[in-house]
Chain length 526, copies 2
């Protein structure tokens, strides 16, 4: 496959002439071959118009037809795994094994969401039969189902260059829901984006889907993204990235003449609470697990555990000693971009400078290291210092964590109550610990989208029961998830048909249930 | 029951001293007995704090416990029907029979939503079992369910002083979902609001629910409402009213440090499309039905059909002649408030003044009539005039409708494509008509929350399959409904439990399914 460096607008390529940028190898800091041309706002407009035209016919596709398209995209990706992994490795510094695993996850996700569309799981069909004899007024026949919102703009993440980029979770859930996608490529992996974009475009064409169902736009800056979010034909936005970026999109979307939903997954510090019996029995095991989770992928996960609360005592001492030793022994790792690495090092310096915070095991950054080399960092402080320094709740994106020593379970609860919205919250405890901590569990359920017990938050299962979201600012909309089959629901809305003749009803709602999907009929699922 | 004219803040009453207002009899324009004292923003803050405390325990109530509370509220209302209907009639001018019917609907709604909570219908429980042998990584046990958002602020509607006011749909769905309610009373029916508020407060107390689960605040202006929407402990807003009012709340909520969802149902013009065969066979019958729907309750429904598209021809002529005769013979009616009536008369004058619009059968307002007396109005225009005057798409709240004559089915489709978001869209057609109009049905499904066939949009069934919402500006959030059991979903969010010990899991997710609710287990409903 030839990299052309041009946007993909339906079946055509974009023009040259916009601002040029390149991929960068984060391990060396060197520019990679291939020039990428920023799209114009006129091209963004053209992509949205094509998507809107495509929507008119794609919205009529059955769940099974959508599933076939998603399966075909997965097949195309698998057939080009070598190319994908090679370019991905050059642009992101992520090891080949990680990229292979992420590709498998991406393909599983495409197929799993297609299956959810095909099975009618997200159709939410409901039928309330008429009762012409009801008094004082007859009851009409009423049937409802979920239908797609319309064209969706998706912004790719830098830290999951496959699973949350071009053919990633937001694209897969929008396509499965029946919505065309206009994808704004992340400038940190433009070559990989183009490869995957070309494969998606091929699959769209081979499936007989309308041109414009998928477009991919490059931009060195923010102009194209802003134009897309403000476009009147765009009906929803998916985003994975920083809080600042997500909030900017939320504000843009809320200020439109017709406000639209923005699903921004903005990350969090993912607090871990370690209760005393667990600490006293498994201090070193928990320390090792935590260290693995903090440093996995050089800490570049939105579920990276950046904040740990322990109950003081002998167990906590043993835990900290082990964790400190492991952090000190951690080799430096290459971060995704020099920019992320610089932000990480700024964050580490800010924490180091707070009075009452001990840098324990932290090796401060060495300016002479490679462009994007980062060391693990461990900070320790008291509950009092934590509770009086709001900055210590900020996310430091990278392999860093802050341990807060609490002198009582009440202090743990107080810290939990003070937290802002989180993607996850984790509790380590024996059955005794947990039984005595029901209030902590209840508070954390109001703060996080997912509660993890005796484990670690990294590793987000693609499943029906996954919630990867959480109250603001972890995500823009705590009522949603960006992973799992509930992710499709973000791009759907209900519509009701009242006294509609059988011949005009969509198949999903016909009396005989030709699609054989589960429906809520007169209040009962069958 | 003694009317005190004071806000209800949990179990206490608010202070005197705020700006005083009274109820007004719209039939006479005279002030009604009883002075109502505006709450202070400090009282609004106190109500929210109480609600937040109440949430901590109420969120743990089972669906059955919530249903018992809602049933008790319904019983209290029924036991005080005479008092409610009498004061309601004085403050709103609505006839006793209408208020009795609305009270019955309100009580049905409370019980129906309680049942949805008790049966687990809205729990959305999901279980994905672990697979410790999965390669390359073991699969965790993952379980998810919907939990309540937190305190909800509800703004009552003037046009449904029972079903969409103090104990109406938004309050019922929030309480059923597990959320405390801070209710901002509509100043057009303060005495009725206080009566119902006192009954809700009694039911809350008798049910052993925490104080603060319900508060009722009076305000002559907008200060209290604004303070409530901006309060950091408030997690969602329900509103039924004007587009301007709804948008103001949306903008306030979106600008918060932590944005929150606003569910504003802002009404629409509810277009009706009458196809040629239907017109040629049932012109007079459709005209009579339409007239009934337009003038029902003096046109004060958000589903009032304010826009009608007909295919020109003999049928259309017959239809218009009949409709004109019926409109001319319609007696004047009393609107809810003098303000609504004045706005209606302004709207009628604006439509009358548009070049190309014929006022057909309209009796222009008589300044010497009672304070809030309104006559029915009928306007007729061509598709060309309609398509070139955006103002003609505006809602005129009251007993008015605009008939647009289209010379072809393509023109009908073009008009449909031009519409903004609607609560409802209606099509009258024979099976032949409808079979030839699939594109029209498809366009209308993208524009409206509910499609009505061979009927009229007024009359919103409280049912599982109801969607009373629709794309902006019909509602703030086209993904939601404010009527039917899906209304509860507005106040819920998913939370997942990963590898949670059985003893710590909520009953809804325990392996043995002690609540006997339907759950999605490993992808299958059972």
């Amino acid at each position: 496959m030839q990299l052309e460096g041009l946007s993909l607008i339906g079946e055509k390529t974009g023009a040259r002439g916009g601002k040029i940028f390149t991929g960068v190898n984060p391990t060396t800091g060197a520019a990679l071959p291939g020039e990428f041309h920023s799209a114009s706002t006129a091209e963004a407009d053209a992509a949205v118009k094509l998507a809107s035209e495509a929507f008119a016919s794609y919205a009529r596709w059955s769940g099974k037809q959508r599933a076939a398209l998603l399966n075909r995209i997965a097949e195309r990706l698998e057939a080009n795994a070598t190319l994908i992994v090679e370019r991905g490795n050059l642009e992101t510094g992520l090891p080949a094994a990680r990229l292979q695993g992420e590709l498998a996850r991406t393909c599983f996700q495409l197929r799993f969401y297609g299956e959810a569309a095909a099975s009618g799981l997200v159709t939410g069909a409901r039928i309330d039969h008429a009762d012409p004899n009801r008094k004082p007024l007859p009851k009409p026949d009423l049937r409802s189902m979920m239908i797609p919102l319309g064209p969706v703009v998706v912004f790719g993440a830098s830290n999951f260059p496959l699973a949350y980029s071009v053919a990633g979770g937001d694209t897969a859930s929008a396509l499965a829901a029946g919505c065309p996608v206009i994808f704004k490529a992340h400038p940190a992996h433009p070559g990989l984006s183009e490869i995957v974009g070309q494969l998606v475009t091929q699959a769209v064409k081979e499936s007989g889907a309308p041109e414009g169902l998928f477009s991919l736009l490059f931009d060195a800056g923010h102009e194209v993204g802003g134009a897309l979010v403000k476009h009147p034909l765009v009906k929803a936005v998916g985003f994975t990235g920083s809080r600042q970026g997500g909030r900017t999109l939320m504000d843009l979307a809320a200020a439109r003449p017709e406000p639209i939903p923005v699903y921004a997954e903005m990350g969090s510090v993912n607090p871990v609470f370690i209760l005393s019996e667990a600490l006293n029995t498994k201090a070193e095991e928990i320390a090792a697990g935590l260290h693995g989770s903090v440093t996995l992928g050089v800490g570049q996960f939105c579920t990276n555990p950046g904040l740990v609360f322990v109950e003081t005592g002998a167990g906590a001492k043993q835990f900290l000693a082990k964790l400190e030793a492991l952090v000190q022994a951690t080799p430096a790792g290459t971060m995704l971009t020099a920019g992320l690495c610089a932000a990480y090092q700024r964050g580490v310096k800010i924490f180091s400078a707070v009075t009452g915070v001990k840098s324990s095991g932290t090796i401060l950054p060495d300016a002479s290291a490679g462009a994007a080399q980062a060391n693990a960092a461990l900070f320790v402080t008291s509950a009092e210092t934590f509770l009086s320094n709001h900055r210590l709740m900020d996310e430091v994106f990278g392999p860093s964590t802050l341990v807060v020593e609490c002198t009582s379970r009440e202090q743990l609860l107080q810290a939990a109550q003070r937290l802002e919205g989180q993607l996850t919250a984790t509790i380590h405890g024996t059955v005794n610990d947990l039984s005595a901590s029901q209030p902590l569990v209840e508070v954390l359920a109001t703060k996080a989208g997912r509660l993890v017990f005796n484990g670690f938050p990294t590793g987000v299962e693609v499943a029906h029961a996954m919630t990867h979201g959480g109250p603001y600012p972890a995500s823009s909309d705590g009522r949603s998830t960006s992973v799992g089959t509930r992710a499709l629901e973000r791009f759907l809305r209900p519509v009701s048909f009242q006294n509609c003749p059988e011949a005009v009803l969509p198949d999903e709602l016909k009396e005989a249930n030709p699609l054989q999907i589960t429906r809520l009929v007169d209040g009962k699922l069958n």
